[in-house]
Amino acid sequence: MLTLTFLLSGTLLAATPLLIAALGELVVEKSGILNLSIEGMMAFGAVIGFIVVTKTDGYWLAIAVGGLAGSALSVVFGAVVLVTLGNQVATGIAVGILGLGLSALIGQPFESSTVAPMAKVAIPVLSQLPIVGRGLFNHPAIVYLAPVLAFAIWFMLMKTKVGLIIRAVGESPESAHAIGYNVNAVRFAAILFGGFLAGVAGAFISIASTTLWANGLIAGRGWIVVALVVFATWRSGRIVIGAYLFGAATIGELLVQSFGIAIPSQLLTSIPFIATIVAIVLLSMDGRSIRLNAPVSLGRVYQVTQ
């Protein structure tokens, strides 16, 4: 029973940052921009959040500052992609490398140090449930907030004017410009928002999940986030499902060990990456669904005419 508790809680802890960052990326991609620098933004948020906790003990402050760190990096991305019309794939990779380098550099004095984990909020009654209670309902508040955020973003995208504008800009920046929207302003805002959530996700990992800083902490999660959005064919509901599935896959190692099966640890570490490839392959076969949901202008350079 302890194992199950451990697995459930491990899955939630692993899934939460994936979910948060993927929701941010969803908004960015819906506006027509492909941001591949999530890995770097998460790492930057992680190290900044970690330092804030080390210096001030303020966990929520760390989450907020981590998010701002992600946004700061996304300013660079947005400027290159929107102002100087840089190729989005290349710029994403470049800013990602920059973020990883900066976080390694800034985090060097803190390498391998730890912090106390973020305070847990046990949900009354539910956390007392047998078997699942402690696994599901005794976590930092952010774990519960993440699915709420997913709902909020779904509502924002599908039910509000702001969401309508973001979707319109993502489908046809030319038309949006023609009817009077400032395409680049909308996209810049989306990029900042996406960067913020990536930073929050990174900070969550370093101060609530692993509670330590080490170079390479993000370990490919940023890329899984990008894959998640593809996997979900740009729908928030599916991102939630996907994030928890991937969360489970990332703790596959623990799962298999708990059954006492002897498998090389390297193979277990590879499971999420293999799962990502399989997921992308399966989802990409459904071309029709992708065409219906994918933002039409995704990744395309848009040049404003004046």
Binding site: K161, L164, I165, R167, A168, E171, S172, E174, S175, A176, H177, A178, I179, G180, Y181, N182, G287, R288, R291, L292, V296, T305, Q306
Partner: protein
């Protein structure tokens, strides 16, 4: 501007009032062209004003300036007597200027109400009753909750007009609004436009179709080469006199004699049924068609009825599964499943409707663009490009077709649409095809070049080439085609001989008139 609330204004009143919109010396330059050169004009409330000019005369640029999409380099805009700088379309709308675009600025994945909501302050739900009410009042029925990609082109235009009207504009700009309508759709549109002006609104009607301007507009401003050439009362003009003003000379017509097509089909389509992967595309249903050497067959129809899909299936850009390869036959060979390169080696040449990005690579020079389809005509050797040969090929195309450009090393995108089209057609003709398929061959091309292209097609026909022309310009097809088909919702009409072809019959076919007669939608026969 109290007059604008008056119900009707007589023609003489209009001239004395302060103008609704006045342009003084508006100038706009692009890197390669001076699009508007010292343009001045005044529009009175209640007026239907035509801006007449051929492709490239500067109409679109002028309209974009009035609507705030482009900023003029020089000149003054006065709105209701006051000087304004229209910063952007939102500002234009706030002033009371609305626009119905030629290439729609609608979002296909959104609903009608959502699309309209983007241009107004209300939510989609709040707008639904207003959409229905406006539809009733002005004869523009449309379902507010329908997704735009499911609408026909005519319905989309209604959405554009309603979206424009809901902002209660004083001036409505309509950019080539009839180009997307079947002949039967034009009188209702004109009725709608007249109703709009009854309340003192002015309409700026952009067109190059003389007949329409003469029947609808109070005043016509004629543009040529970015300048205003004349301002006339179109009712007092003839088509010929307007055309002369518009292009500076008479419209040339191709010289043609009756066709003498050969017995055996050069290309045939048999029971072609095709569902495109694009969910917004048109499904082709049981299309049969034959194309003989020495004839020009035209495919008419309102855009969005399957022209794009049909052209791609014929050219080989879209390949059919092997099991259905015999639905497309070239010279007796079933070839529905081979790509465009292999079809080219069977003697098929294709001129696509998009020049930049499809018929040519915009960033590459004309020499490299020659390689695109002519590479196997002695321009490569053992897999390596023979640059002198490619250059010579490009130079011959430029010379033979009188392409105005910077030479063989000019990038394709630096050419005007018409000149690039001439280059592409020249390239395809030099491949000495047995079959030539041309999609919108003169779309966006100036009158002189269009006439030259049409003459080329007729000459090729006389040389024994089988030619298929897919065009939305009915006048063009009536001028050059020996017989016609009409595409409607993916169905192809029976063939109409040239002698029988007239606007009424074709207009009927364009709205599906042929379906009730011989085949109901959905029935497939082989």
């Amino acid at each position: 501007m109290k007059a604008s609330s008056d119900a009707t204004i007589s023609s003489s009143d209009r001239d004395q009032e302060a103008p609704l919109l006045e342009l003084v010396g508006v100038t706009k330059a692009f890197p390669a062209v001076l699009a508007n050169d010292d343009v001045s004009l005044r529009i009175q409330p209640g007026e239907i004003r035509a801006i007449l000019g051929e492709n490239g005369a500067g109409k679109s640029t002028l309209v974009k300036i009035i609507y705030g999409v482009l900023v003029p380099d020089a000149g003054e805009i006065r709105w209701r007597g006051e000087k304004v700088a229209i910063r952007n379309p939102a500002h234009a709308r706030a002033l009371g200027i609305g626009m119905v675009f030629q290439h729609f600025s609608l979002f296909e994945t959104l609903t009608v109400a959502e699309n309209i909501s983007l241009a107004t302050a209300q939510s989609p739900a709040e707008l639904e009753p207003a959409i229905v009410e406006f539809g009733d009042r002005f004869g523009l029925p449309v379902e507010p909750r329908a997704l735009v990609h499911s609408l026909s082109v005519g319905e989309r235009q209604r959405v554009e007009i309603i979206r424009c009207l809901l902002q209660d504009p004083r001036l409505i700009i309509m950019d080539e609004p009839t180009s997307v309508l079947p002949p039967s759709g034009i009188p209702p549109l004109f009725e709608t436009i007249r109703k709009l002006t009854e309340q003192g609104r002015a309409v700026l009607f952009i067109s190059h179709k003389l007949e329409e301007i003469r029947s609808l507009c109070h005043q016509a401003t004629v543009m040529r080469g970015g300048k205003v050439i004349a301002s006339v009362d179109p009712a007092k003009e003839t088509n010929e006199s307007l055309a002369h003003l518009m292009i500076g000379r008479d419209i040339p017509h191709p010289e043609r004699e009756a066709a003498t097509p050969a017995e055996n089909a050069a290309m045939a389509v048999r029971g072609l049924t095709y569902t495109p992967p694009d969910p917004f595309g048109t499904i082709l249903r049981d299309i049969s068609l034959s194309l003989h050497p020495g004839e020009i067959v035209g495919i008419a129809g309102v855009s969005g009825n399957g022209q794009r899909e049909l052209a791609a299936v014929l050219s080989g850009e879209t390949m059919l599964p092997s099991s259905r390869r015999d639905q497309v036959v070239i010279d007796g060979n079933a070839c529905g499943d081979i790509d465009s390169g292999k079809r080219r080696s069977l003697g098929l040449a294709f001129v696509p409707e998009e020049r930049n990005g499809r018929g040519a690579v915009p960033e590459m020079d004309l020499t490299k663009n020659a390689l695109l389809t002519a590479h196997s005509f002695g321009l490569t050797k053992r897999g390596f490009i023979q640059r002198p040969a490619a250059r010579a090929f490009a130079e011959r195309c430029i010379a033979e077709m009188d392409v105005r450009c910077g030479g063989w090393d000019a990038e394709a995108r630096s050419l005007s649409g018409g000149n690039l089209q001439k280059y592409i057609i020249g390239r395809e003709i030099r491949l000495q095809p047995q079959i030539l398929i041309a999609s919108q061959p003169t779309w966006g091309v100036d009158v002189g070049a269009a006439a030259a292209i049409r003459q080329q097609l007729v000459d090729l026909r006389d040389g024994g080439v089988a030619i298929l022309v897919i065009s939305e310009e009915l006048e063009e097809l009536l001028e050059i085609a020996d017989r016609l088909h009409v595409l409607f919702r993916g169905h192809l009409s029976p063939s109409i001989e040239r002698a029988r072809a007239n606007t009424t019959l074709i207009g009927d076919f364009m709205t599906g008139g042929f379906l009730a007669a011989d085949q109901a939608p959905g029935t497939a026969s082989l």
